[in-house]
């Protein structure tokens, strides 16, 4: 450092000037080099026919390894399963299979593969490719995260727990065009599964990886993967399937931040964005410019809190019930969540009154849209507060009029009475035991945090209950939740297929995902009976029974039925509301361009 009293440097002026000049020259060189480096970058592709703001940068694009929606959207475009889903109704349609036969008990499926199918490298694709792909999905050594989707295939569970072999699993090619699969119990939702990401066929040479150059069989193929920037897919010239997509190229933009996604969409640089910041939702709903583009449709997902039944006072059903009855879910959905989601009083989301109300919201926003029930044939159960039309406790949701829906599960006085009867102290009384302070655990994120604070206030106000809030980053949160080391913890569950089984098998005693310490033999039995039942009507009744038990005694505090949140340009055609929030790109087109 220069200090006072050092030698004057003016004497060395000429040398100094040169050194300084050298530095300036170096800096100029640096600037030029940077600009050259900038211009030298690989040429960027022109705008694709459709640009999707796809959320976070995808993890793996291998069907067996992918876990999230950003990956699924791309994988289902570059692969084609046996079955495609109608973009509007989700009805199964021919994909790689031109037809199928299902046994009366829904335990045996036979698929006839289309003739002349090819991978994008030109090699033929037949029934054996599906057999190999599906067995690899089940293979315990491969460790596919969604391998359990096929665990009910006869012989699969034995193979996975080490008591059986690959050859004993009942997935077989009868010849090059016929494929047969047999299950331990009826699996009426299997056609839907065939359209899902994990069941897409995988090229024999993929070696567990995906990327440009690895053959796929969909109408598009991956041509560019710029990490954390964009993925481009372009028409696959070898595609021989039934779809005739209109889009030649599609870009999937990766952007971690929802604000950035919204900015990109607002600037017209993307045509559809799958993520928006929660704070923007009220504006998107009400602003006349944005409202027609904002699509918040019923999505088969439930937002709820898990309750730890291993810890008092949550082991007392009266406390669990009181916690639930003191939540004004209508207010929560309206004031905290922006108004799109609907209150949930049961665990299977979107019962008919909720769908009707959602339809009304769309009509109020001037968006004509026909919403279909999320789970065909299932009449969900809901836990109500005080008596409704002579009914009390847990009742079928369809018996509730949609105008009565909002406040159905909100009964703070009833909640206090329940607590009082169970010997707990309530506001205004000095009798009974004091409810110990509870901890609300949630992962970091603005919505989770707002909901936790809102609940904390509601419980304090209605029940005099003290609670603390603990926020953890996602993986630490999962670690604590898995160890059942919490009181109350925030959760979501999204359907894998449109059937109550996807929700109601979550809390059986042997489920690895229950994470609540709850075990109820009657519930387990109901679920087992429902899974084994082939008769559709009877099956649904058994699921209703299981849901009733879950709501009466179970470890869940349902909060709201989830909605999708897509911002879609008015130029985009073929985008329909559907409960899986899966929008097959084969059907999507553009009005202009």
């Amino acid at each position: 450092m220069p200090g006072r009293g050092h030698k004057p440097m003016i004497a060395a002026e000429s040398g100094q000037t040169m050194n300084f000049r050298t530095i300036v020259i170096w800096i100029s060189f640096g600037i030029t080099a940077s600009i050259l480096a900038l211009l030298w970058r690989a040429p960027l592709p022109g705008r694709a026919d459709l640009v999707i703001g796809n959320g976070t940068d995808p993890g793996s694009l291998h069907p067996h390894r992918a876990t999230g929606n950003p990956e699924g959207r791309i994988i289902r475009a570059i692969h084609e399963g046996l079955v495609l889903l109608d973009p509007e109704t989700l009805d199964p349609m021919p994909g790689c299979a031109q037809s199928w036969q299902i046994s009366a008990d829904a335990r045996r499926y036979q698929f006839q593969i289309q003739h002349g199918l090819r991978w994008s490298d030109g090699t033929p694709l037949d029934a054996d490719d599906f057999v190999r792909s599906w067995l690899d999905l089940i293979d315990p050594i491969q460790g596919a995260p969604y391998g359990d989707l096929l665990e009910s295939v006869t012989g699969a569970r034995q193979w996975r727990n080490g008591t059986g072999m690959r050859e004993q699993v009942k997935i077989q090619a009868l010849d090059s065009t016929w494929l047969e699969i047999e299950f331990d119990h009826p699996v009426p939702w299997f056609l839907y599964l065939c359209a899902q990401t994990p069941l897409q066929p995988v090229h024999p040479d993929s070696d567990g990886r995906a990327g440009p150059g690895i053959a796929t069989n969909g109408p598009w193929m991956l041509t560019r993967w710029s990490l954390r920037d964009r993925i481009r897919i372009e028409t696959n010239p070898e595609y021989r399937g039934p779809s005739r997509p209109t889009l030649k190229s599609i870009d999937f933009l990766a952007a971690e931040s929802a604000n950035t996604q919204l900015n990109i969409f607002a600037a017209g640089l993307s045509d559809w964005t799958v993520r928006v910041p929660a704070a923007a939702i009220p504006i998107l709903r009400s602003d006349p410019i944005w409202s027609p583009r904002w699509r918040a449709d019923p999505y088969l997902g439930i937002s709820f809190y898990r309750l730890n039944l291993e810890r008092p006072p949550l082991d007392d059903p009266a406390v669990r019930r009181a916690l639930s009855l003191s939540i004004d879910r209508q207010q929560l959905c309206r004031d905290v969540l922006g108004g799109d989601p609907e209150p949930a009083y049961g665990f299977v989301p979107w019962p008919s009154p909720a769908i009707e109300r959602q339809q009304q919201k769309l009509i109020d926003r001037g968006i004509p849209s026909a919403l279909t029930s999320g789970l065909p044939g299932y009449r969900a159960m809901v836990a109500i507060g005080s008596e409704y039309n002579g009914l009390r406790g847990v009742i079928p949701a369809h018996q509730v009029a949609s105008e009565d829906w909002p406040r159905l599960g909100y009964d703070p006085r009833g909640a206090r009475e329940l607590l009082s009867e169970a010997g707990w102290r309530v506001p205004g009384s000095t009798e009974g035991r004091e409810i110990p302070t509870l901890e609300i655990l949630h992962p970091s994120g603005s919505t989770s945090s707002l909901v936790a604070q809102w609940l904390q206030l509601a419980w304090k106000r209605e029940l005099g209950l003290d609670s603390t809030i603990q926020t953890l980053e996602w993986r630490s949160f999962l670690d604590v939740q898995r160890a059942v080391d919490y009181d109350i913890s925030r959760s979501n569950w999204i359907a894998d297929y449109p059937d109550p089984a996807t929700f109601l098998t979550l809390f059986t005693s042997d489920s690895p995902n229950s994470r609540t310490g709850w075990s109820d033999s009657q519930y387990d039995q109901s679920v087992a009976l429902a899974l084994a039942e082939a008769d559709p009507e009877l099956r649904m009744q058994l699921w209703q029974r299981a849901e009733k038990i879950l709501l009466e005694r179970g470890p869940v505090l349902p909060l709201w039925s989830m909605t999708s949140g897509n911002l879609v340009s008015e130029d985009v055609t073929g985008f329909f509301a559907n409960p899986l929030d899966q929008h097959d790109l084969r059907a999507i087109g553009r009005k202009s361009r």
């Binding site: 640096g30 960027l44 359990d148 995906a210 950035t260 607002a266 690895p512």
Partner: protein, 307 residues
Amino acid sequence: MSRLLLKRLGASLVTIWAVFTISFFIIRAAPGGPFDADRDPPPDVKRAIEERYDLDAPLWSQYLDQLQDWMMLDPGPSLRQPDHDVASILAAGLPISLTIGGLALLLGTTVGIFLGLIAALRVGGWLDHLIVVIASVGISLPLYLIAGMLVLAVSFGLGWLPPAGWESVPSLIMPVLCLALAPAAQAARLVRSGLIEMSSEEFARTARAKGISPFRVLFRHCLRPALIPLVATLGPMAAALLTGSLVIEQIFAIPGVGMHFIQGALNRDYPLVLGAVLLYTVLLQLMTLLADLMLLSLDPRLRGDAS
């Protein structure tokens, strides 16, 4: 000089190893794992996944394996993006971060030196006060606020530049401007105070007495010694800028390496986190060395010490 370089290289290797070791054990001590999800696979399957990535081996053996892999510069695939090797992930982002960070560094220091020079020339005047205020604001305003306001004004108000993305040269302007703000402010403050201090030195007074103009005195005679404090801070500043900024990359959707520090850690993508940390360490060592060499060229008194 070569002895100095050799000594510095040895010290750098030890530092890099220490950083690797500490980072390895810290990230492994974090709760949760790379394959945790809302939905857990059955225990057998989870074990198989861990076996596949050697995550079931004792920690010390994983440490030795990783150390060996990194010494061969082959850390293997990312755990979250298994279709890509960690090396290729970093290699894809590094040129982008280098470009944006390099431009920001050059722009920031050039503008900063220029502003510092002007402020020192008009010390006590309104221009000086203005520059000092701007520099203070530049240092204290959070980056996300500046970036957000810039996007609002330039992209949506004026419609001049794209709000985000990595598509064209115009899309780099705002990120570079935002990133350049802090170094510019810092450079302006350091150069200003350095110049004010130098201008009261005997050599400067002598030069002024000889009739040399105040600007020429500052520019030709005082600037070089006044740059010394700035150059001393340049090493860490350059390393931080060149390895990307999480905030800037997030707001402008820039696919540089800055996000890997945070996302890699949040996803428990152990090899990626180590890669990002090592990259930063190496750059920091390199930039500090460069800054020291620049100091040597600026300050002849140091040359005696160095040899």
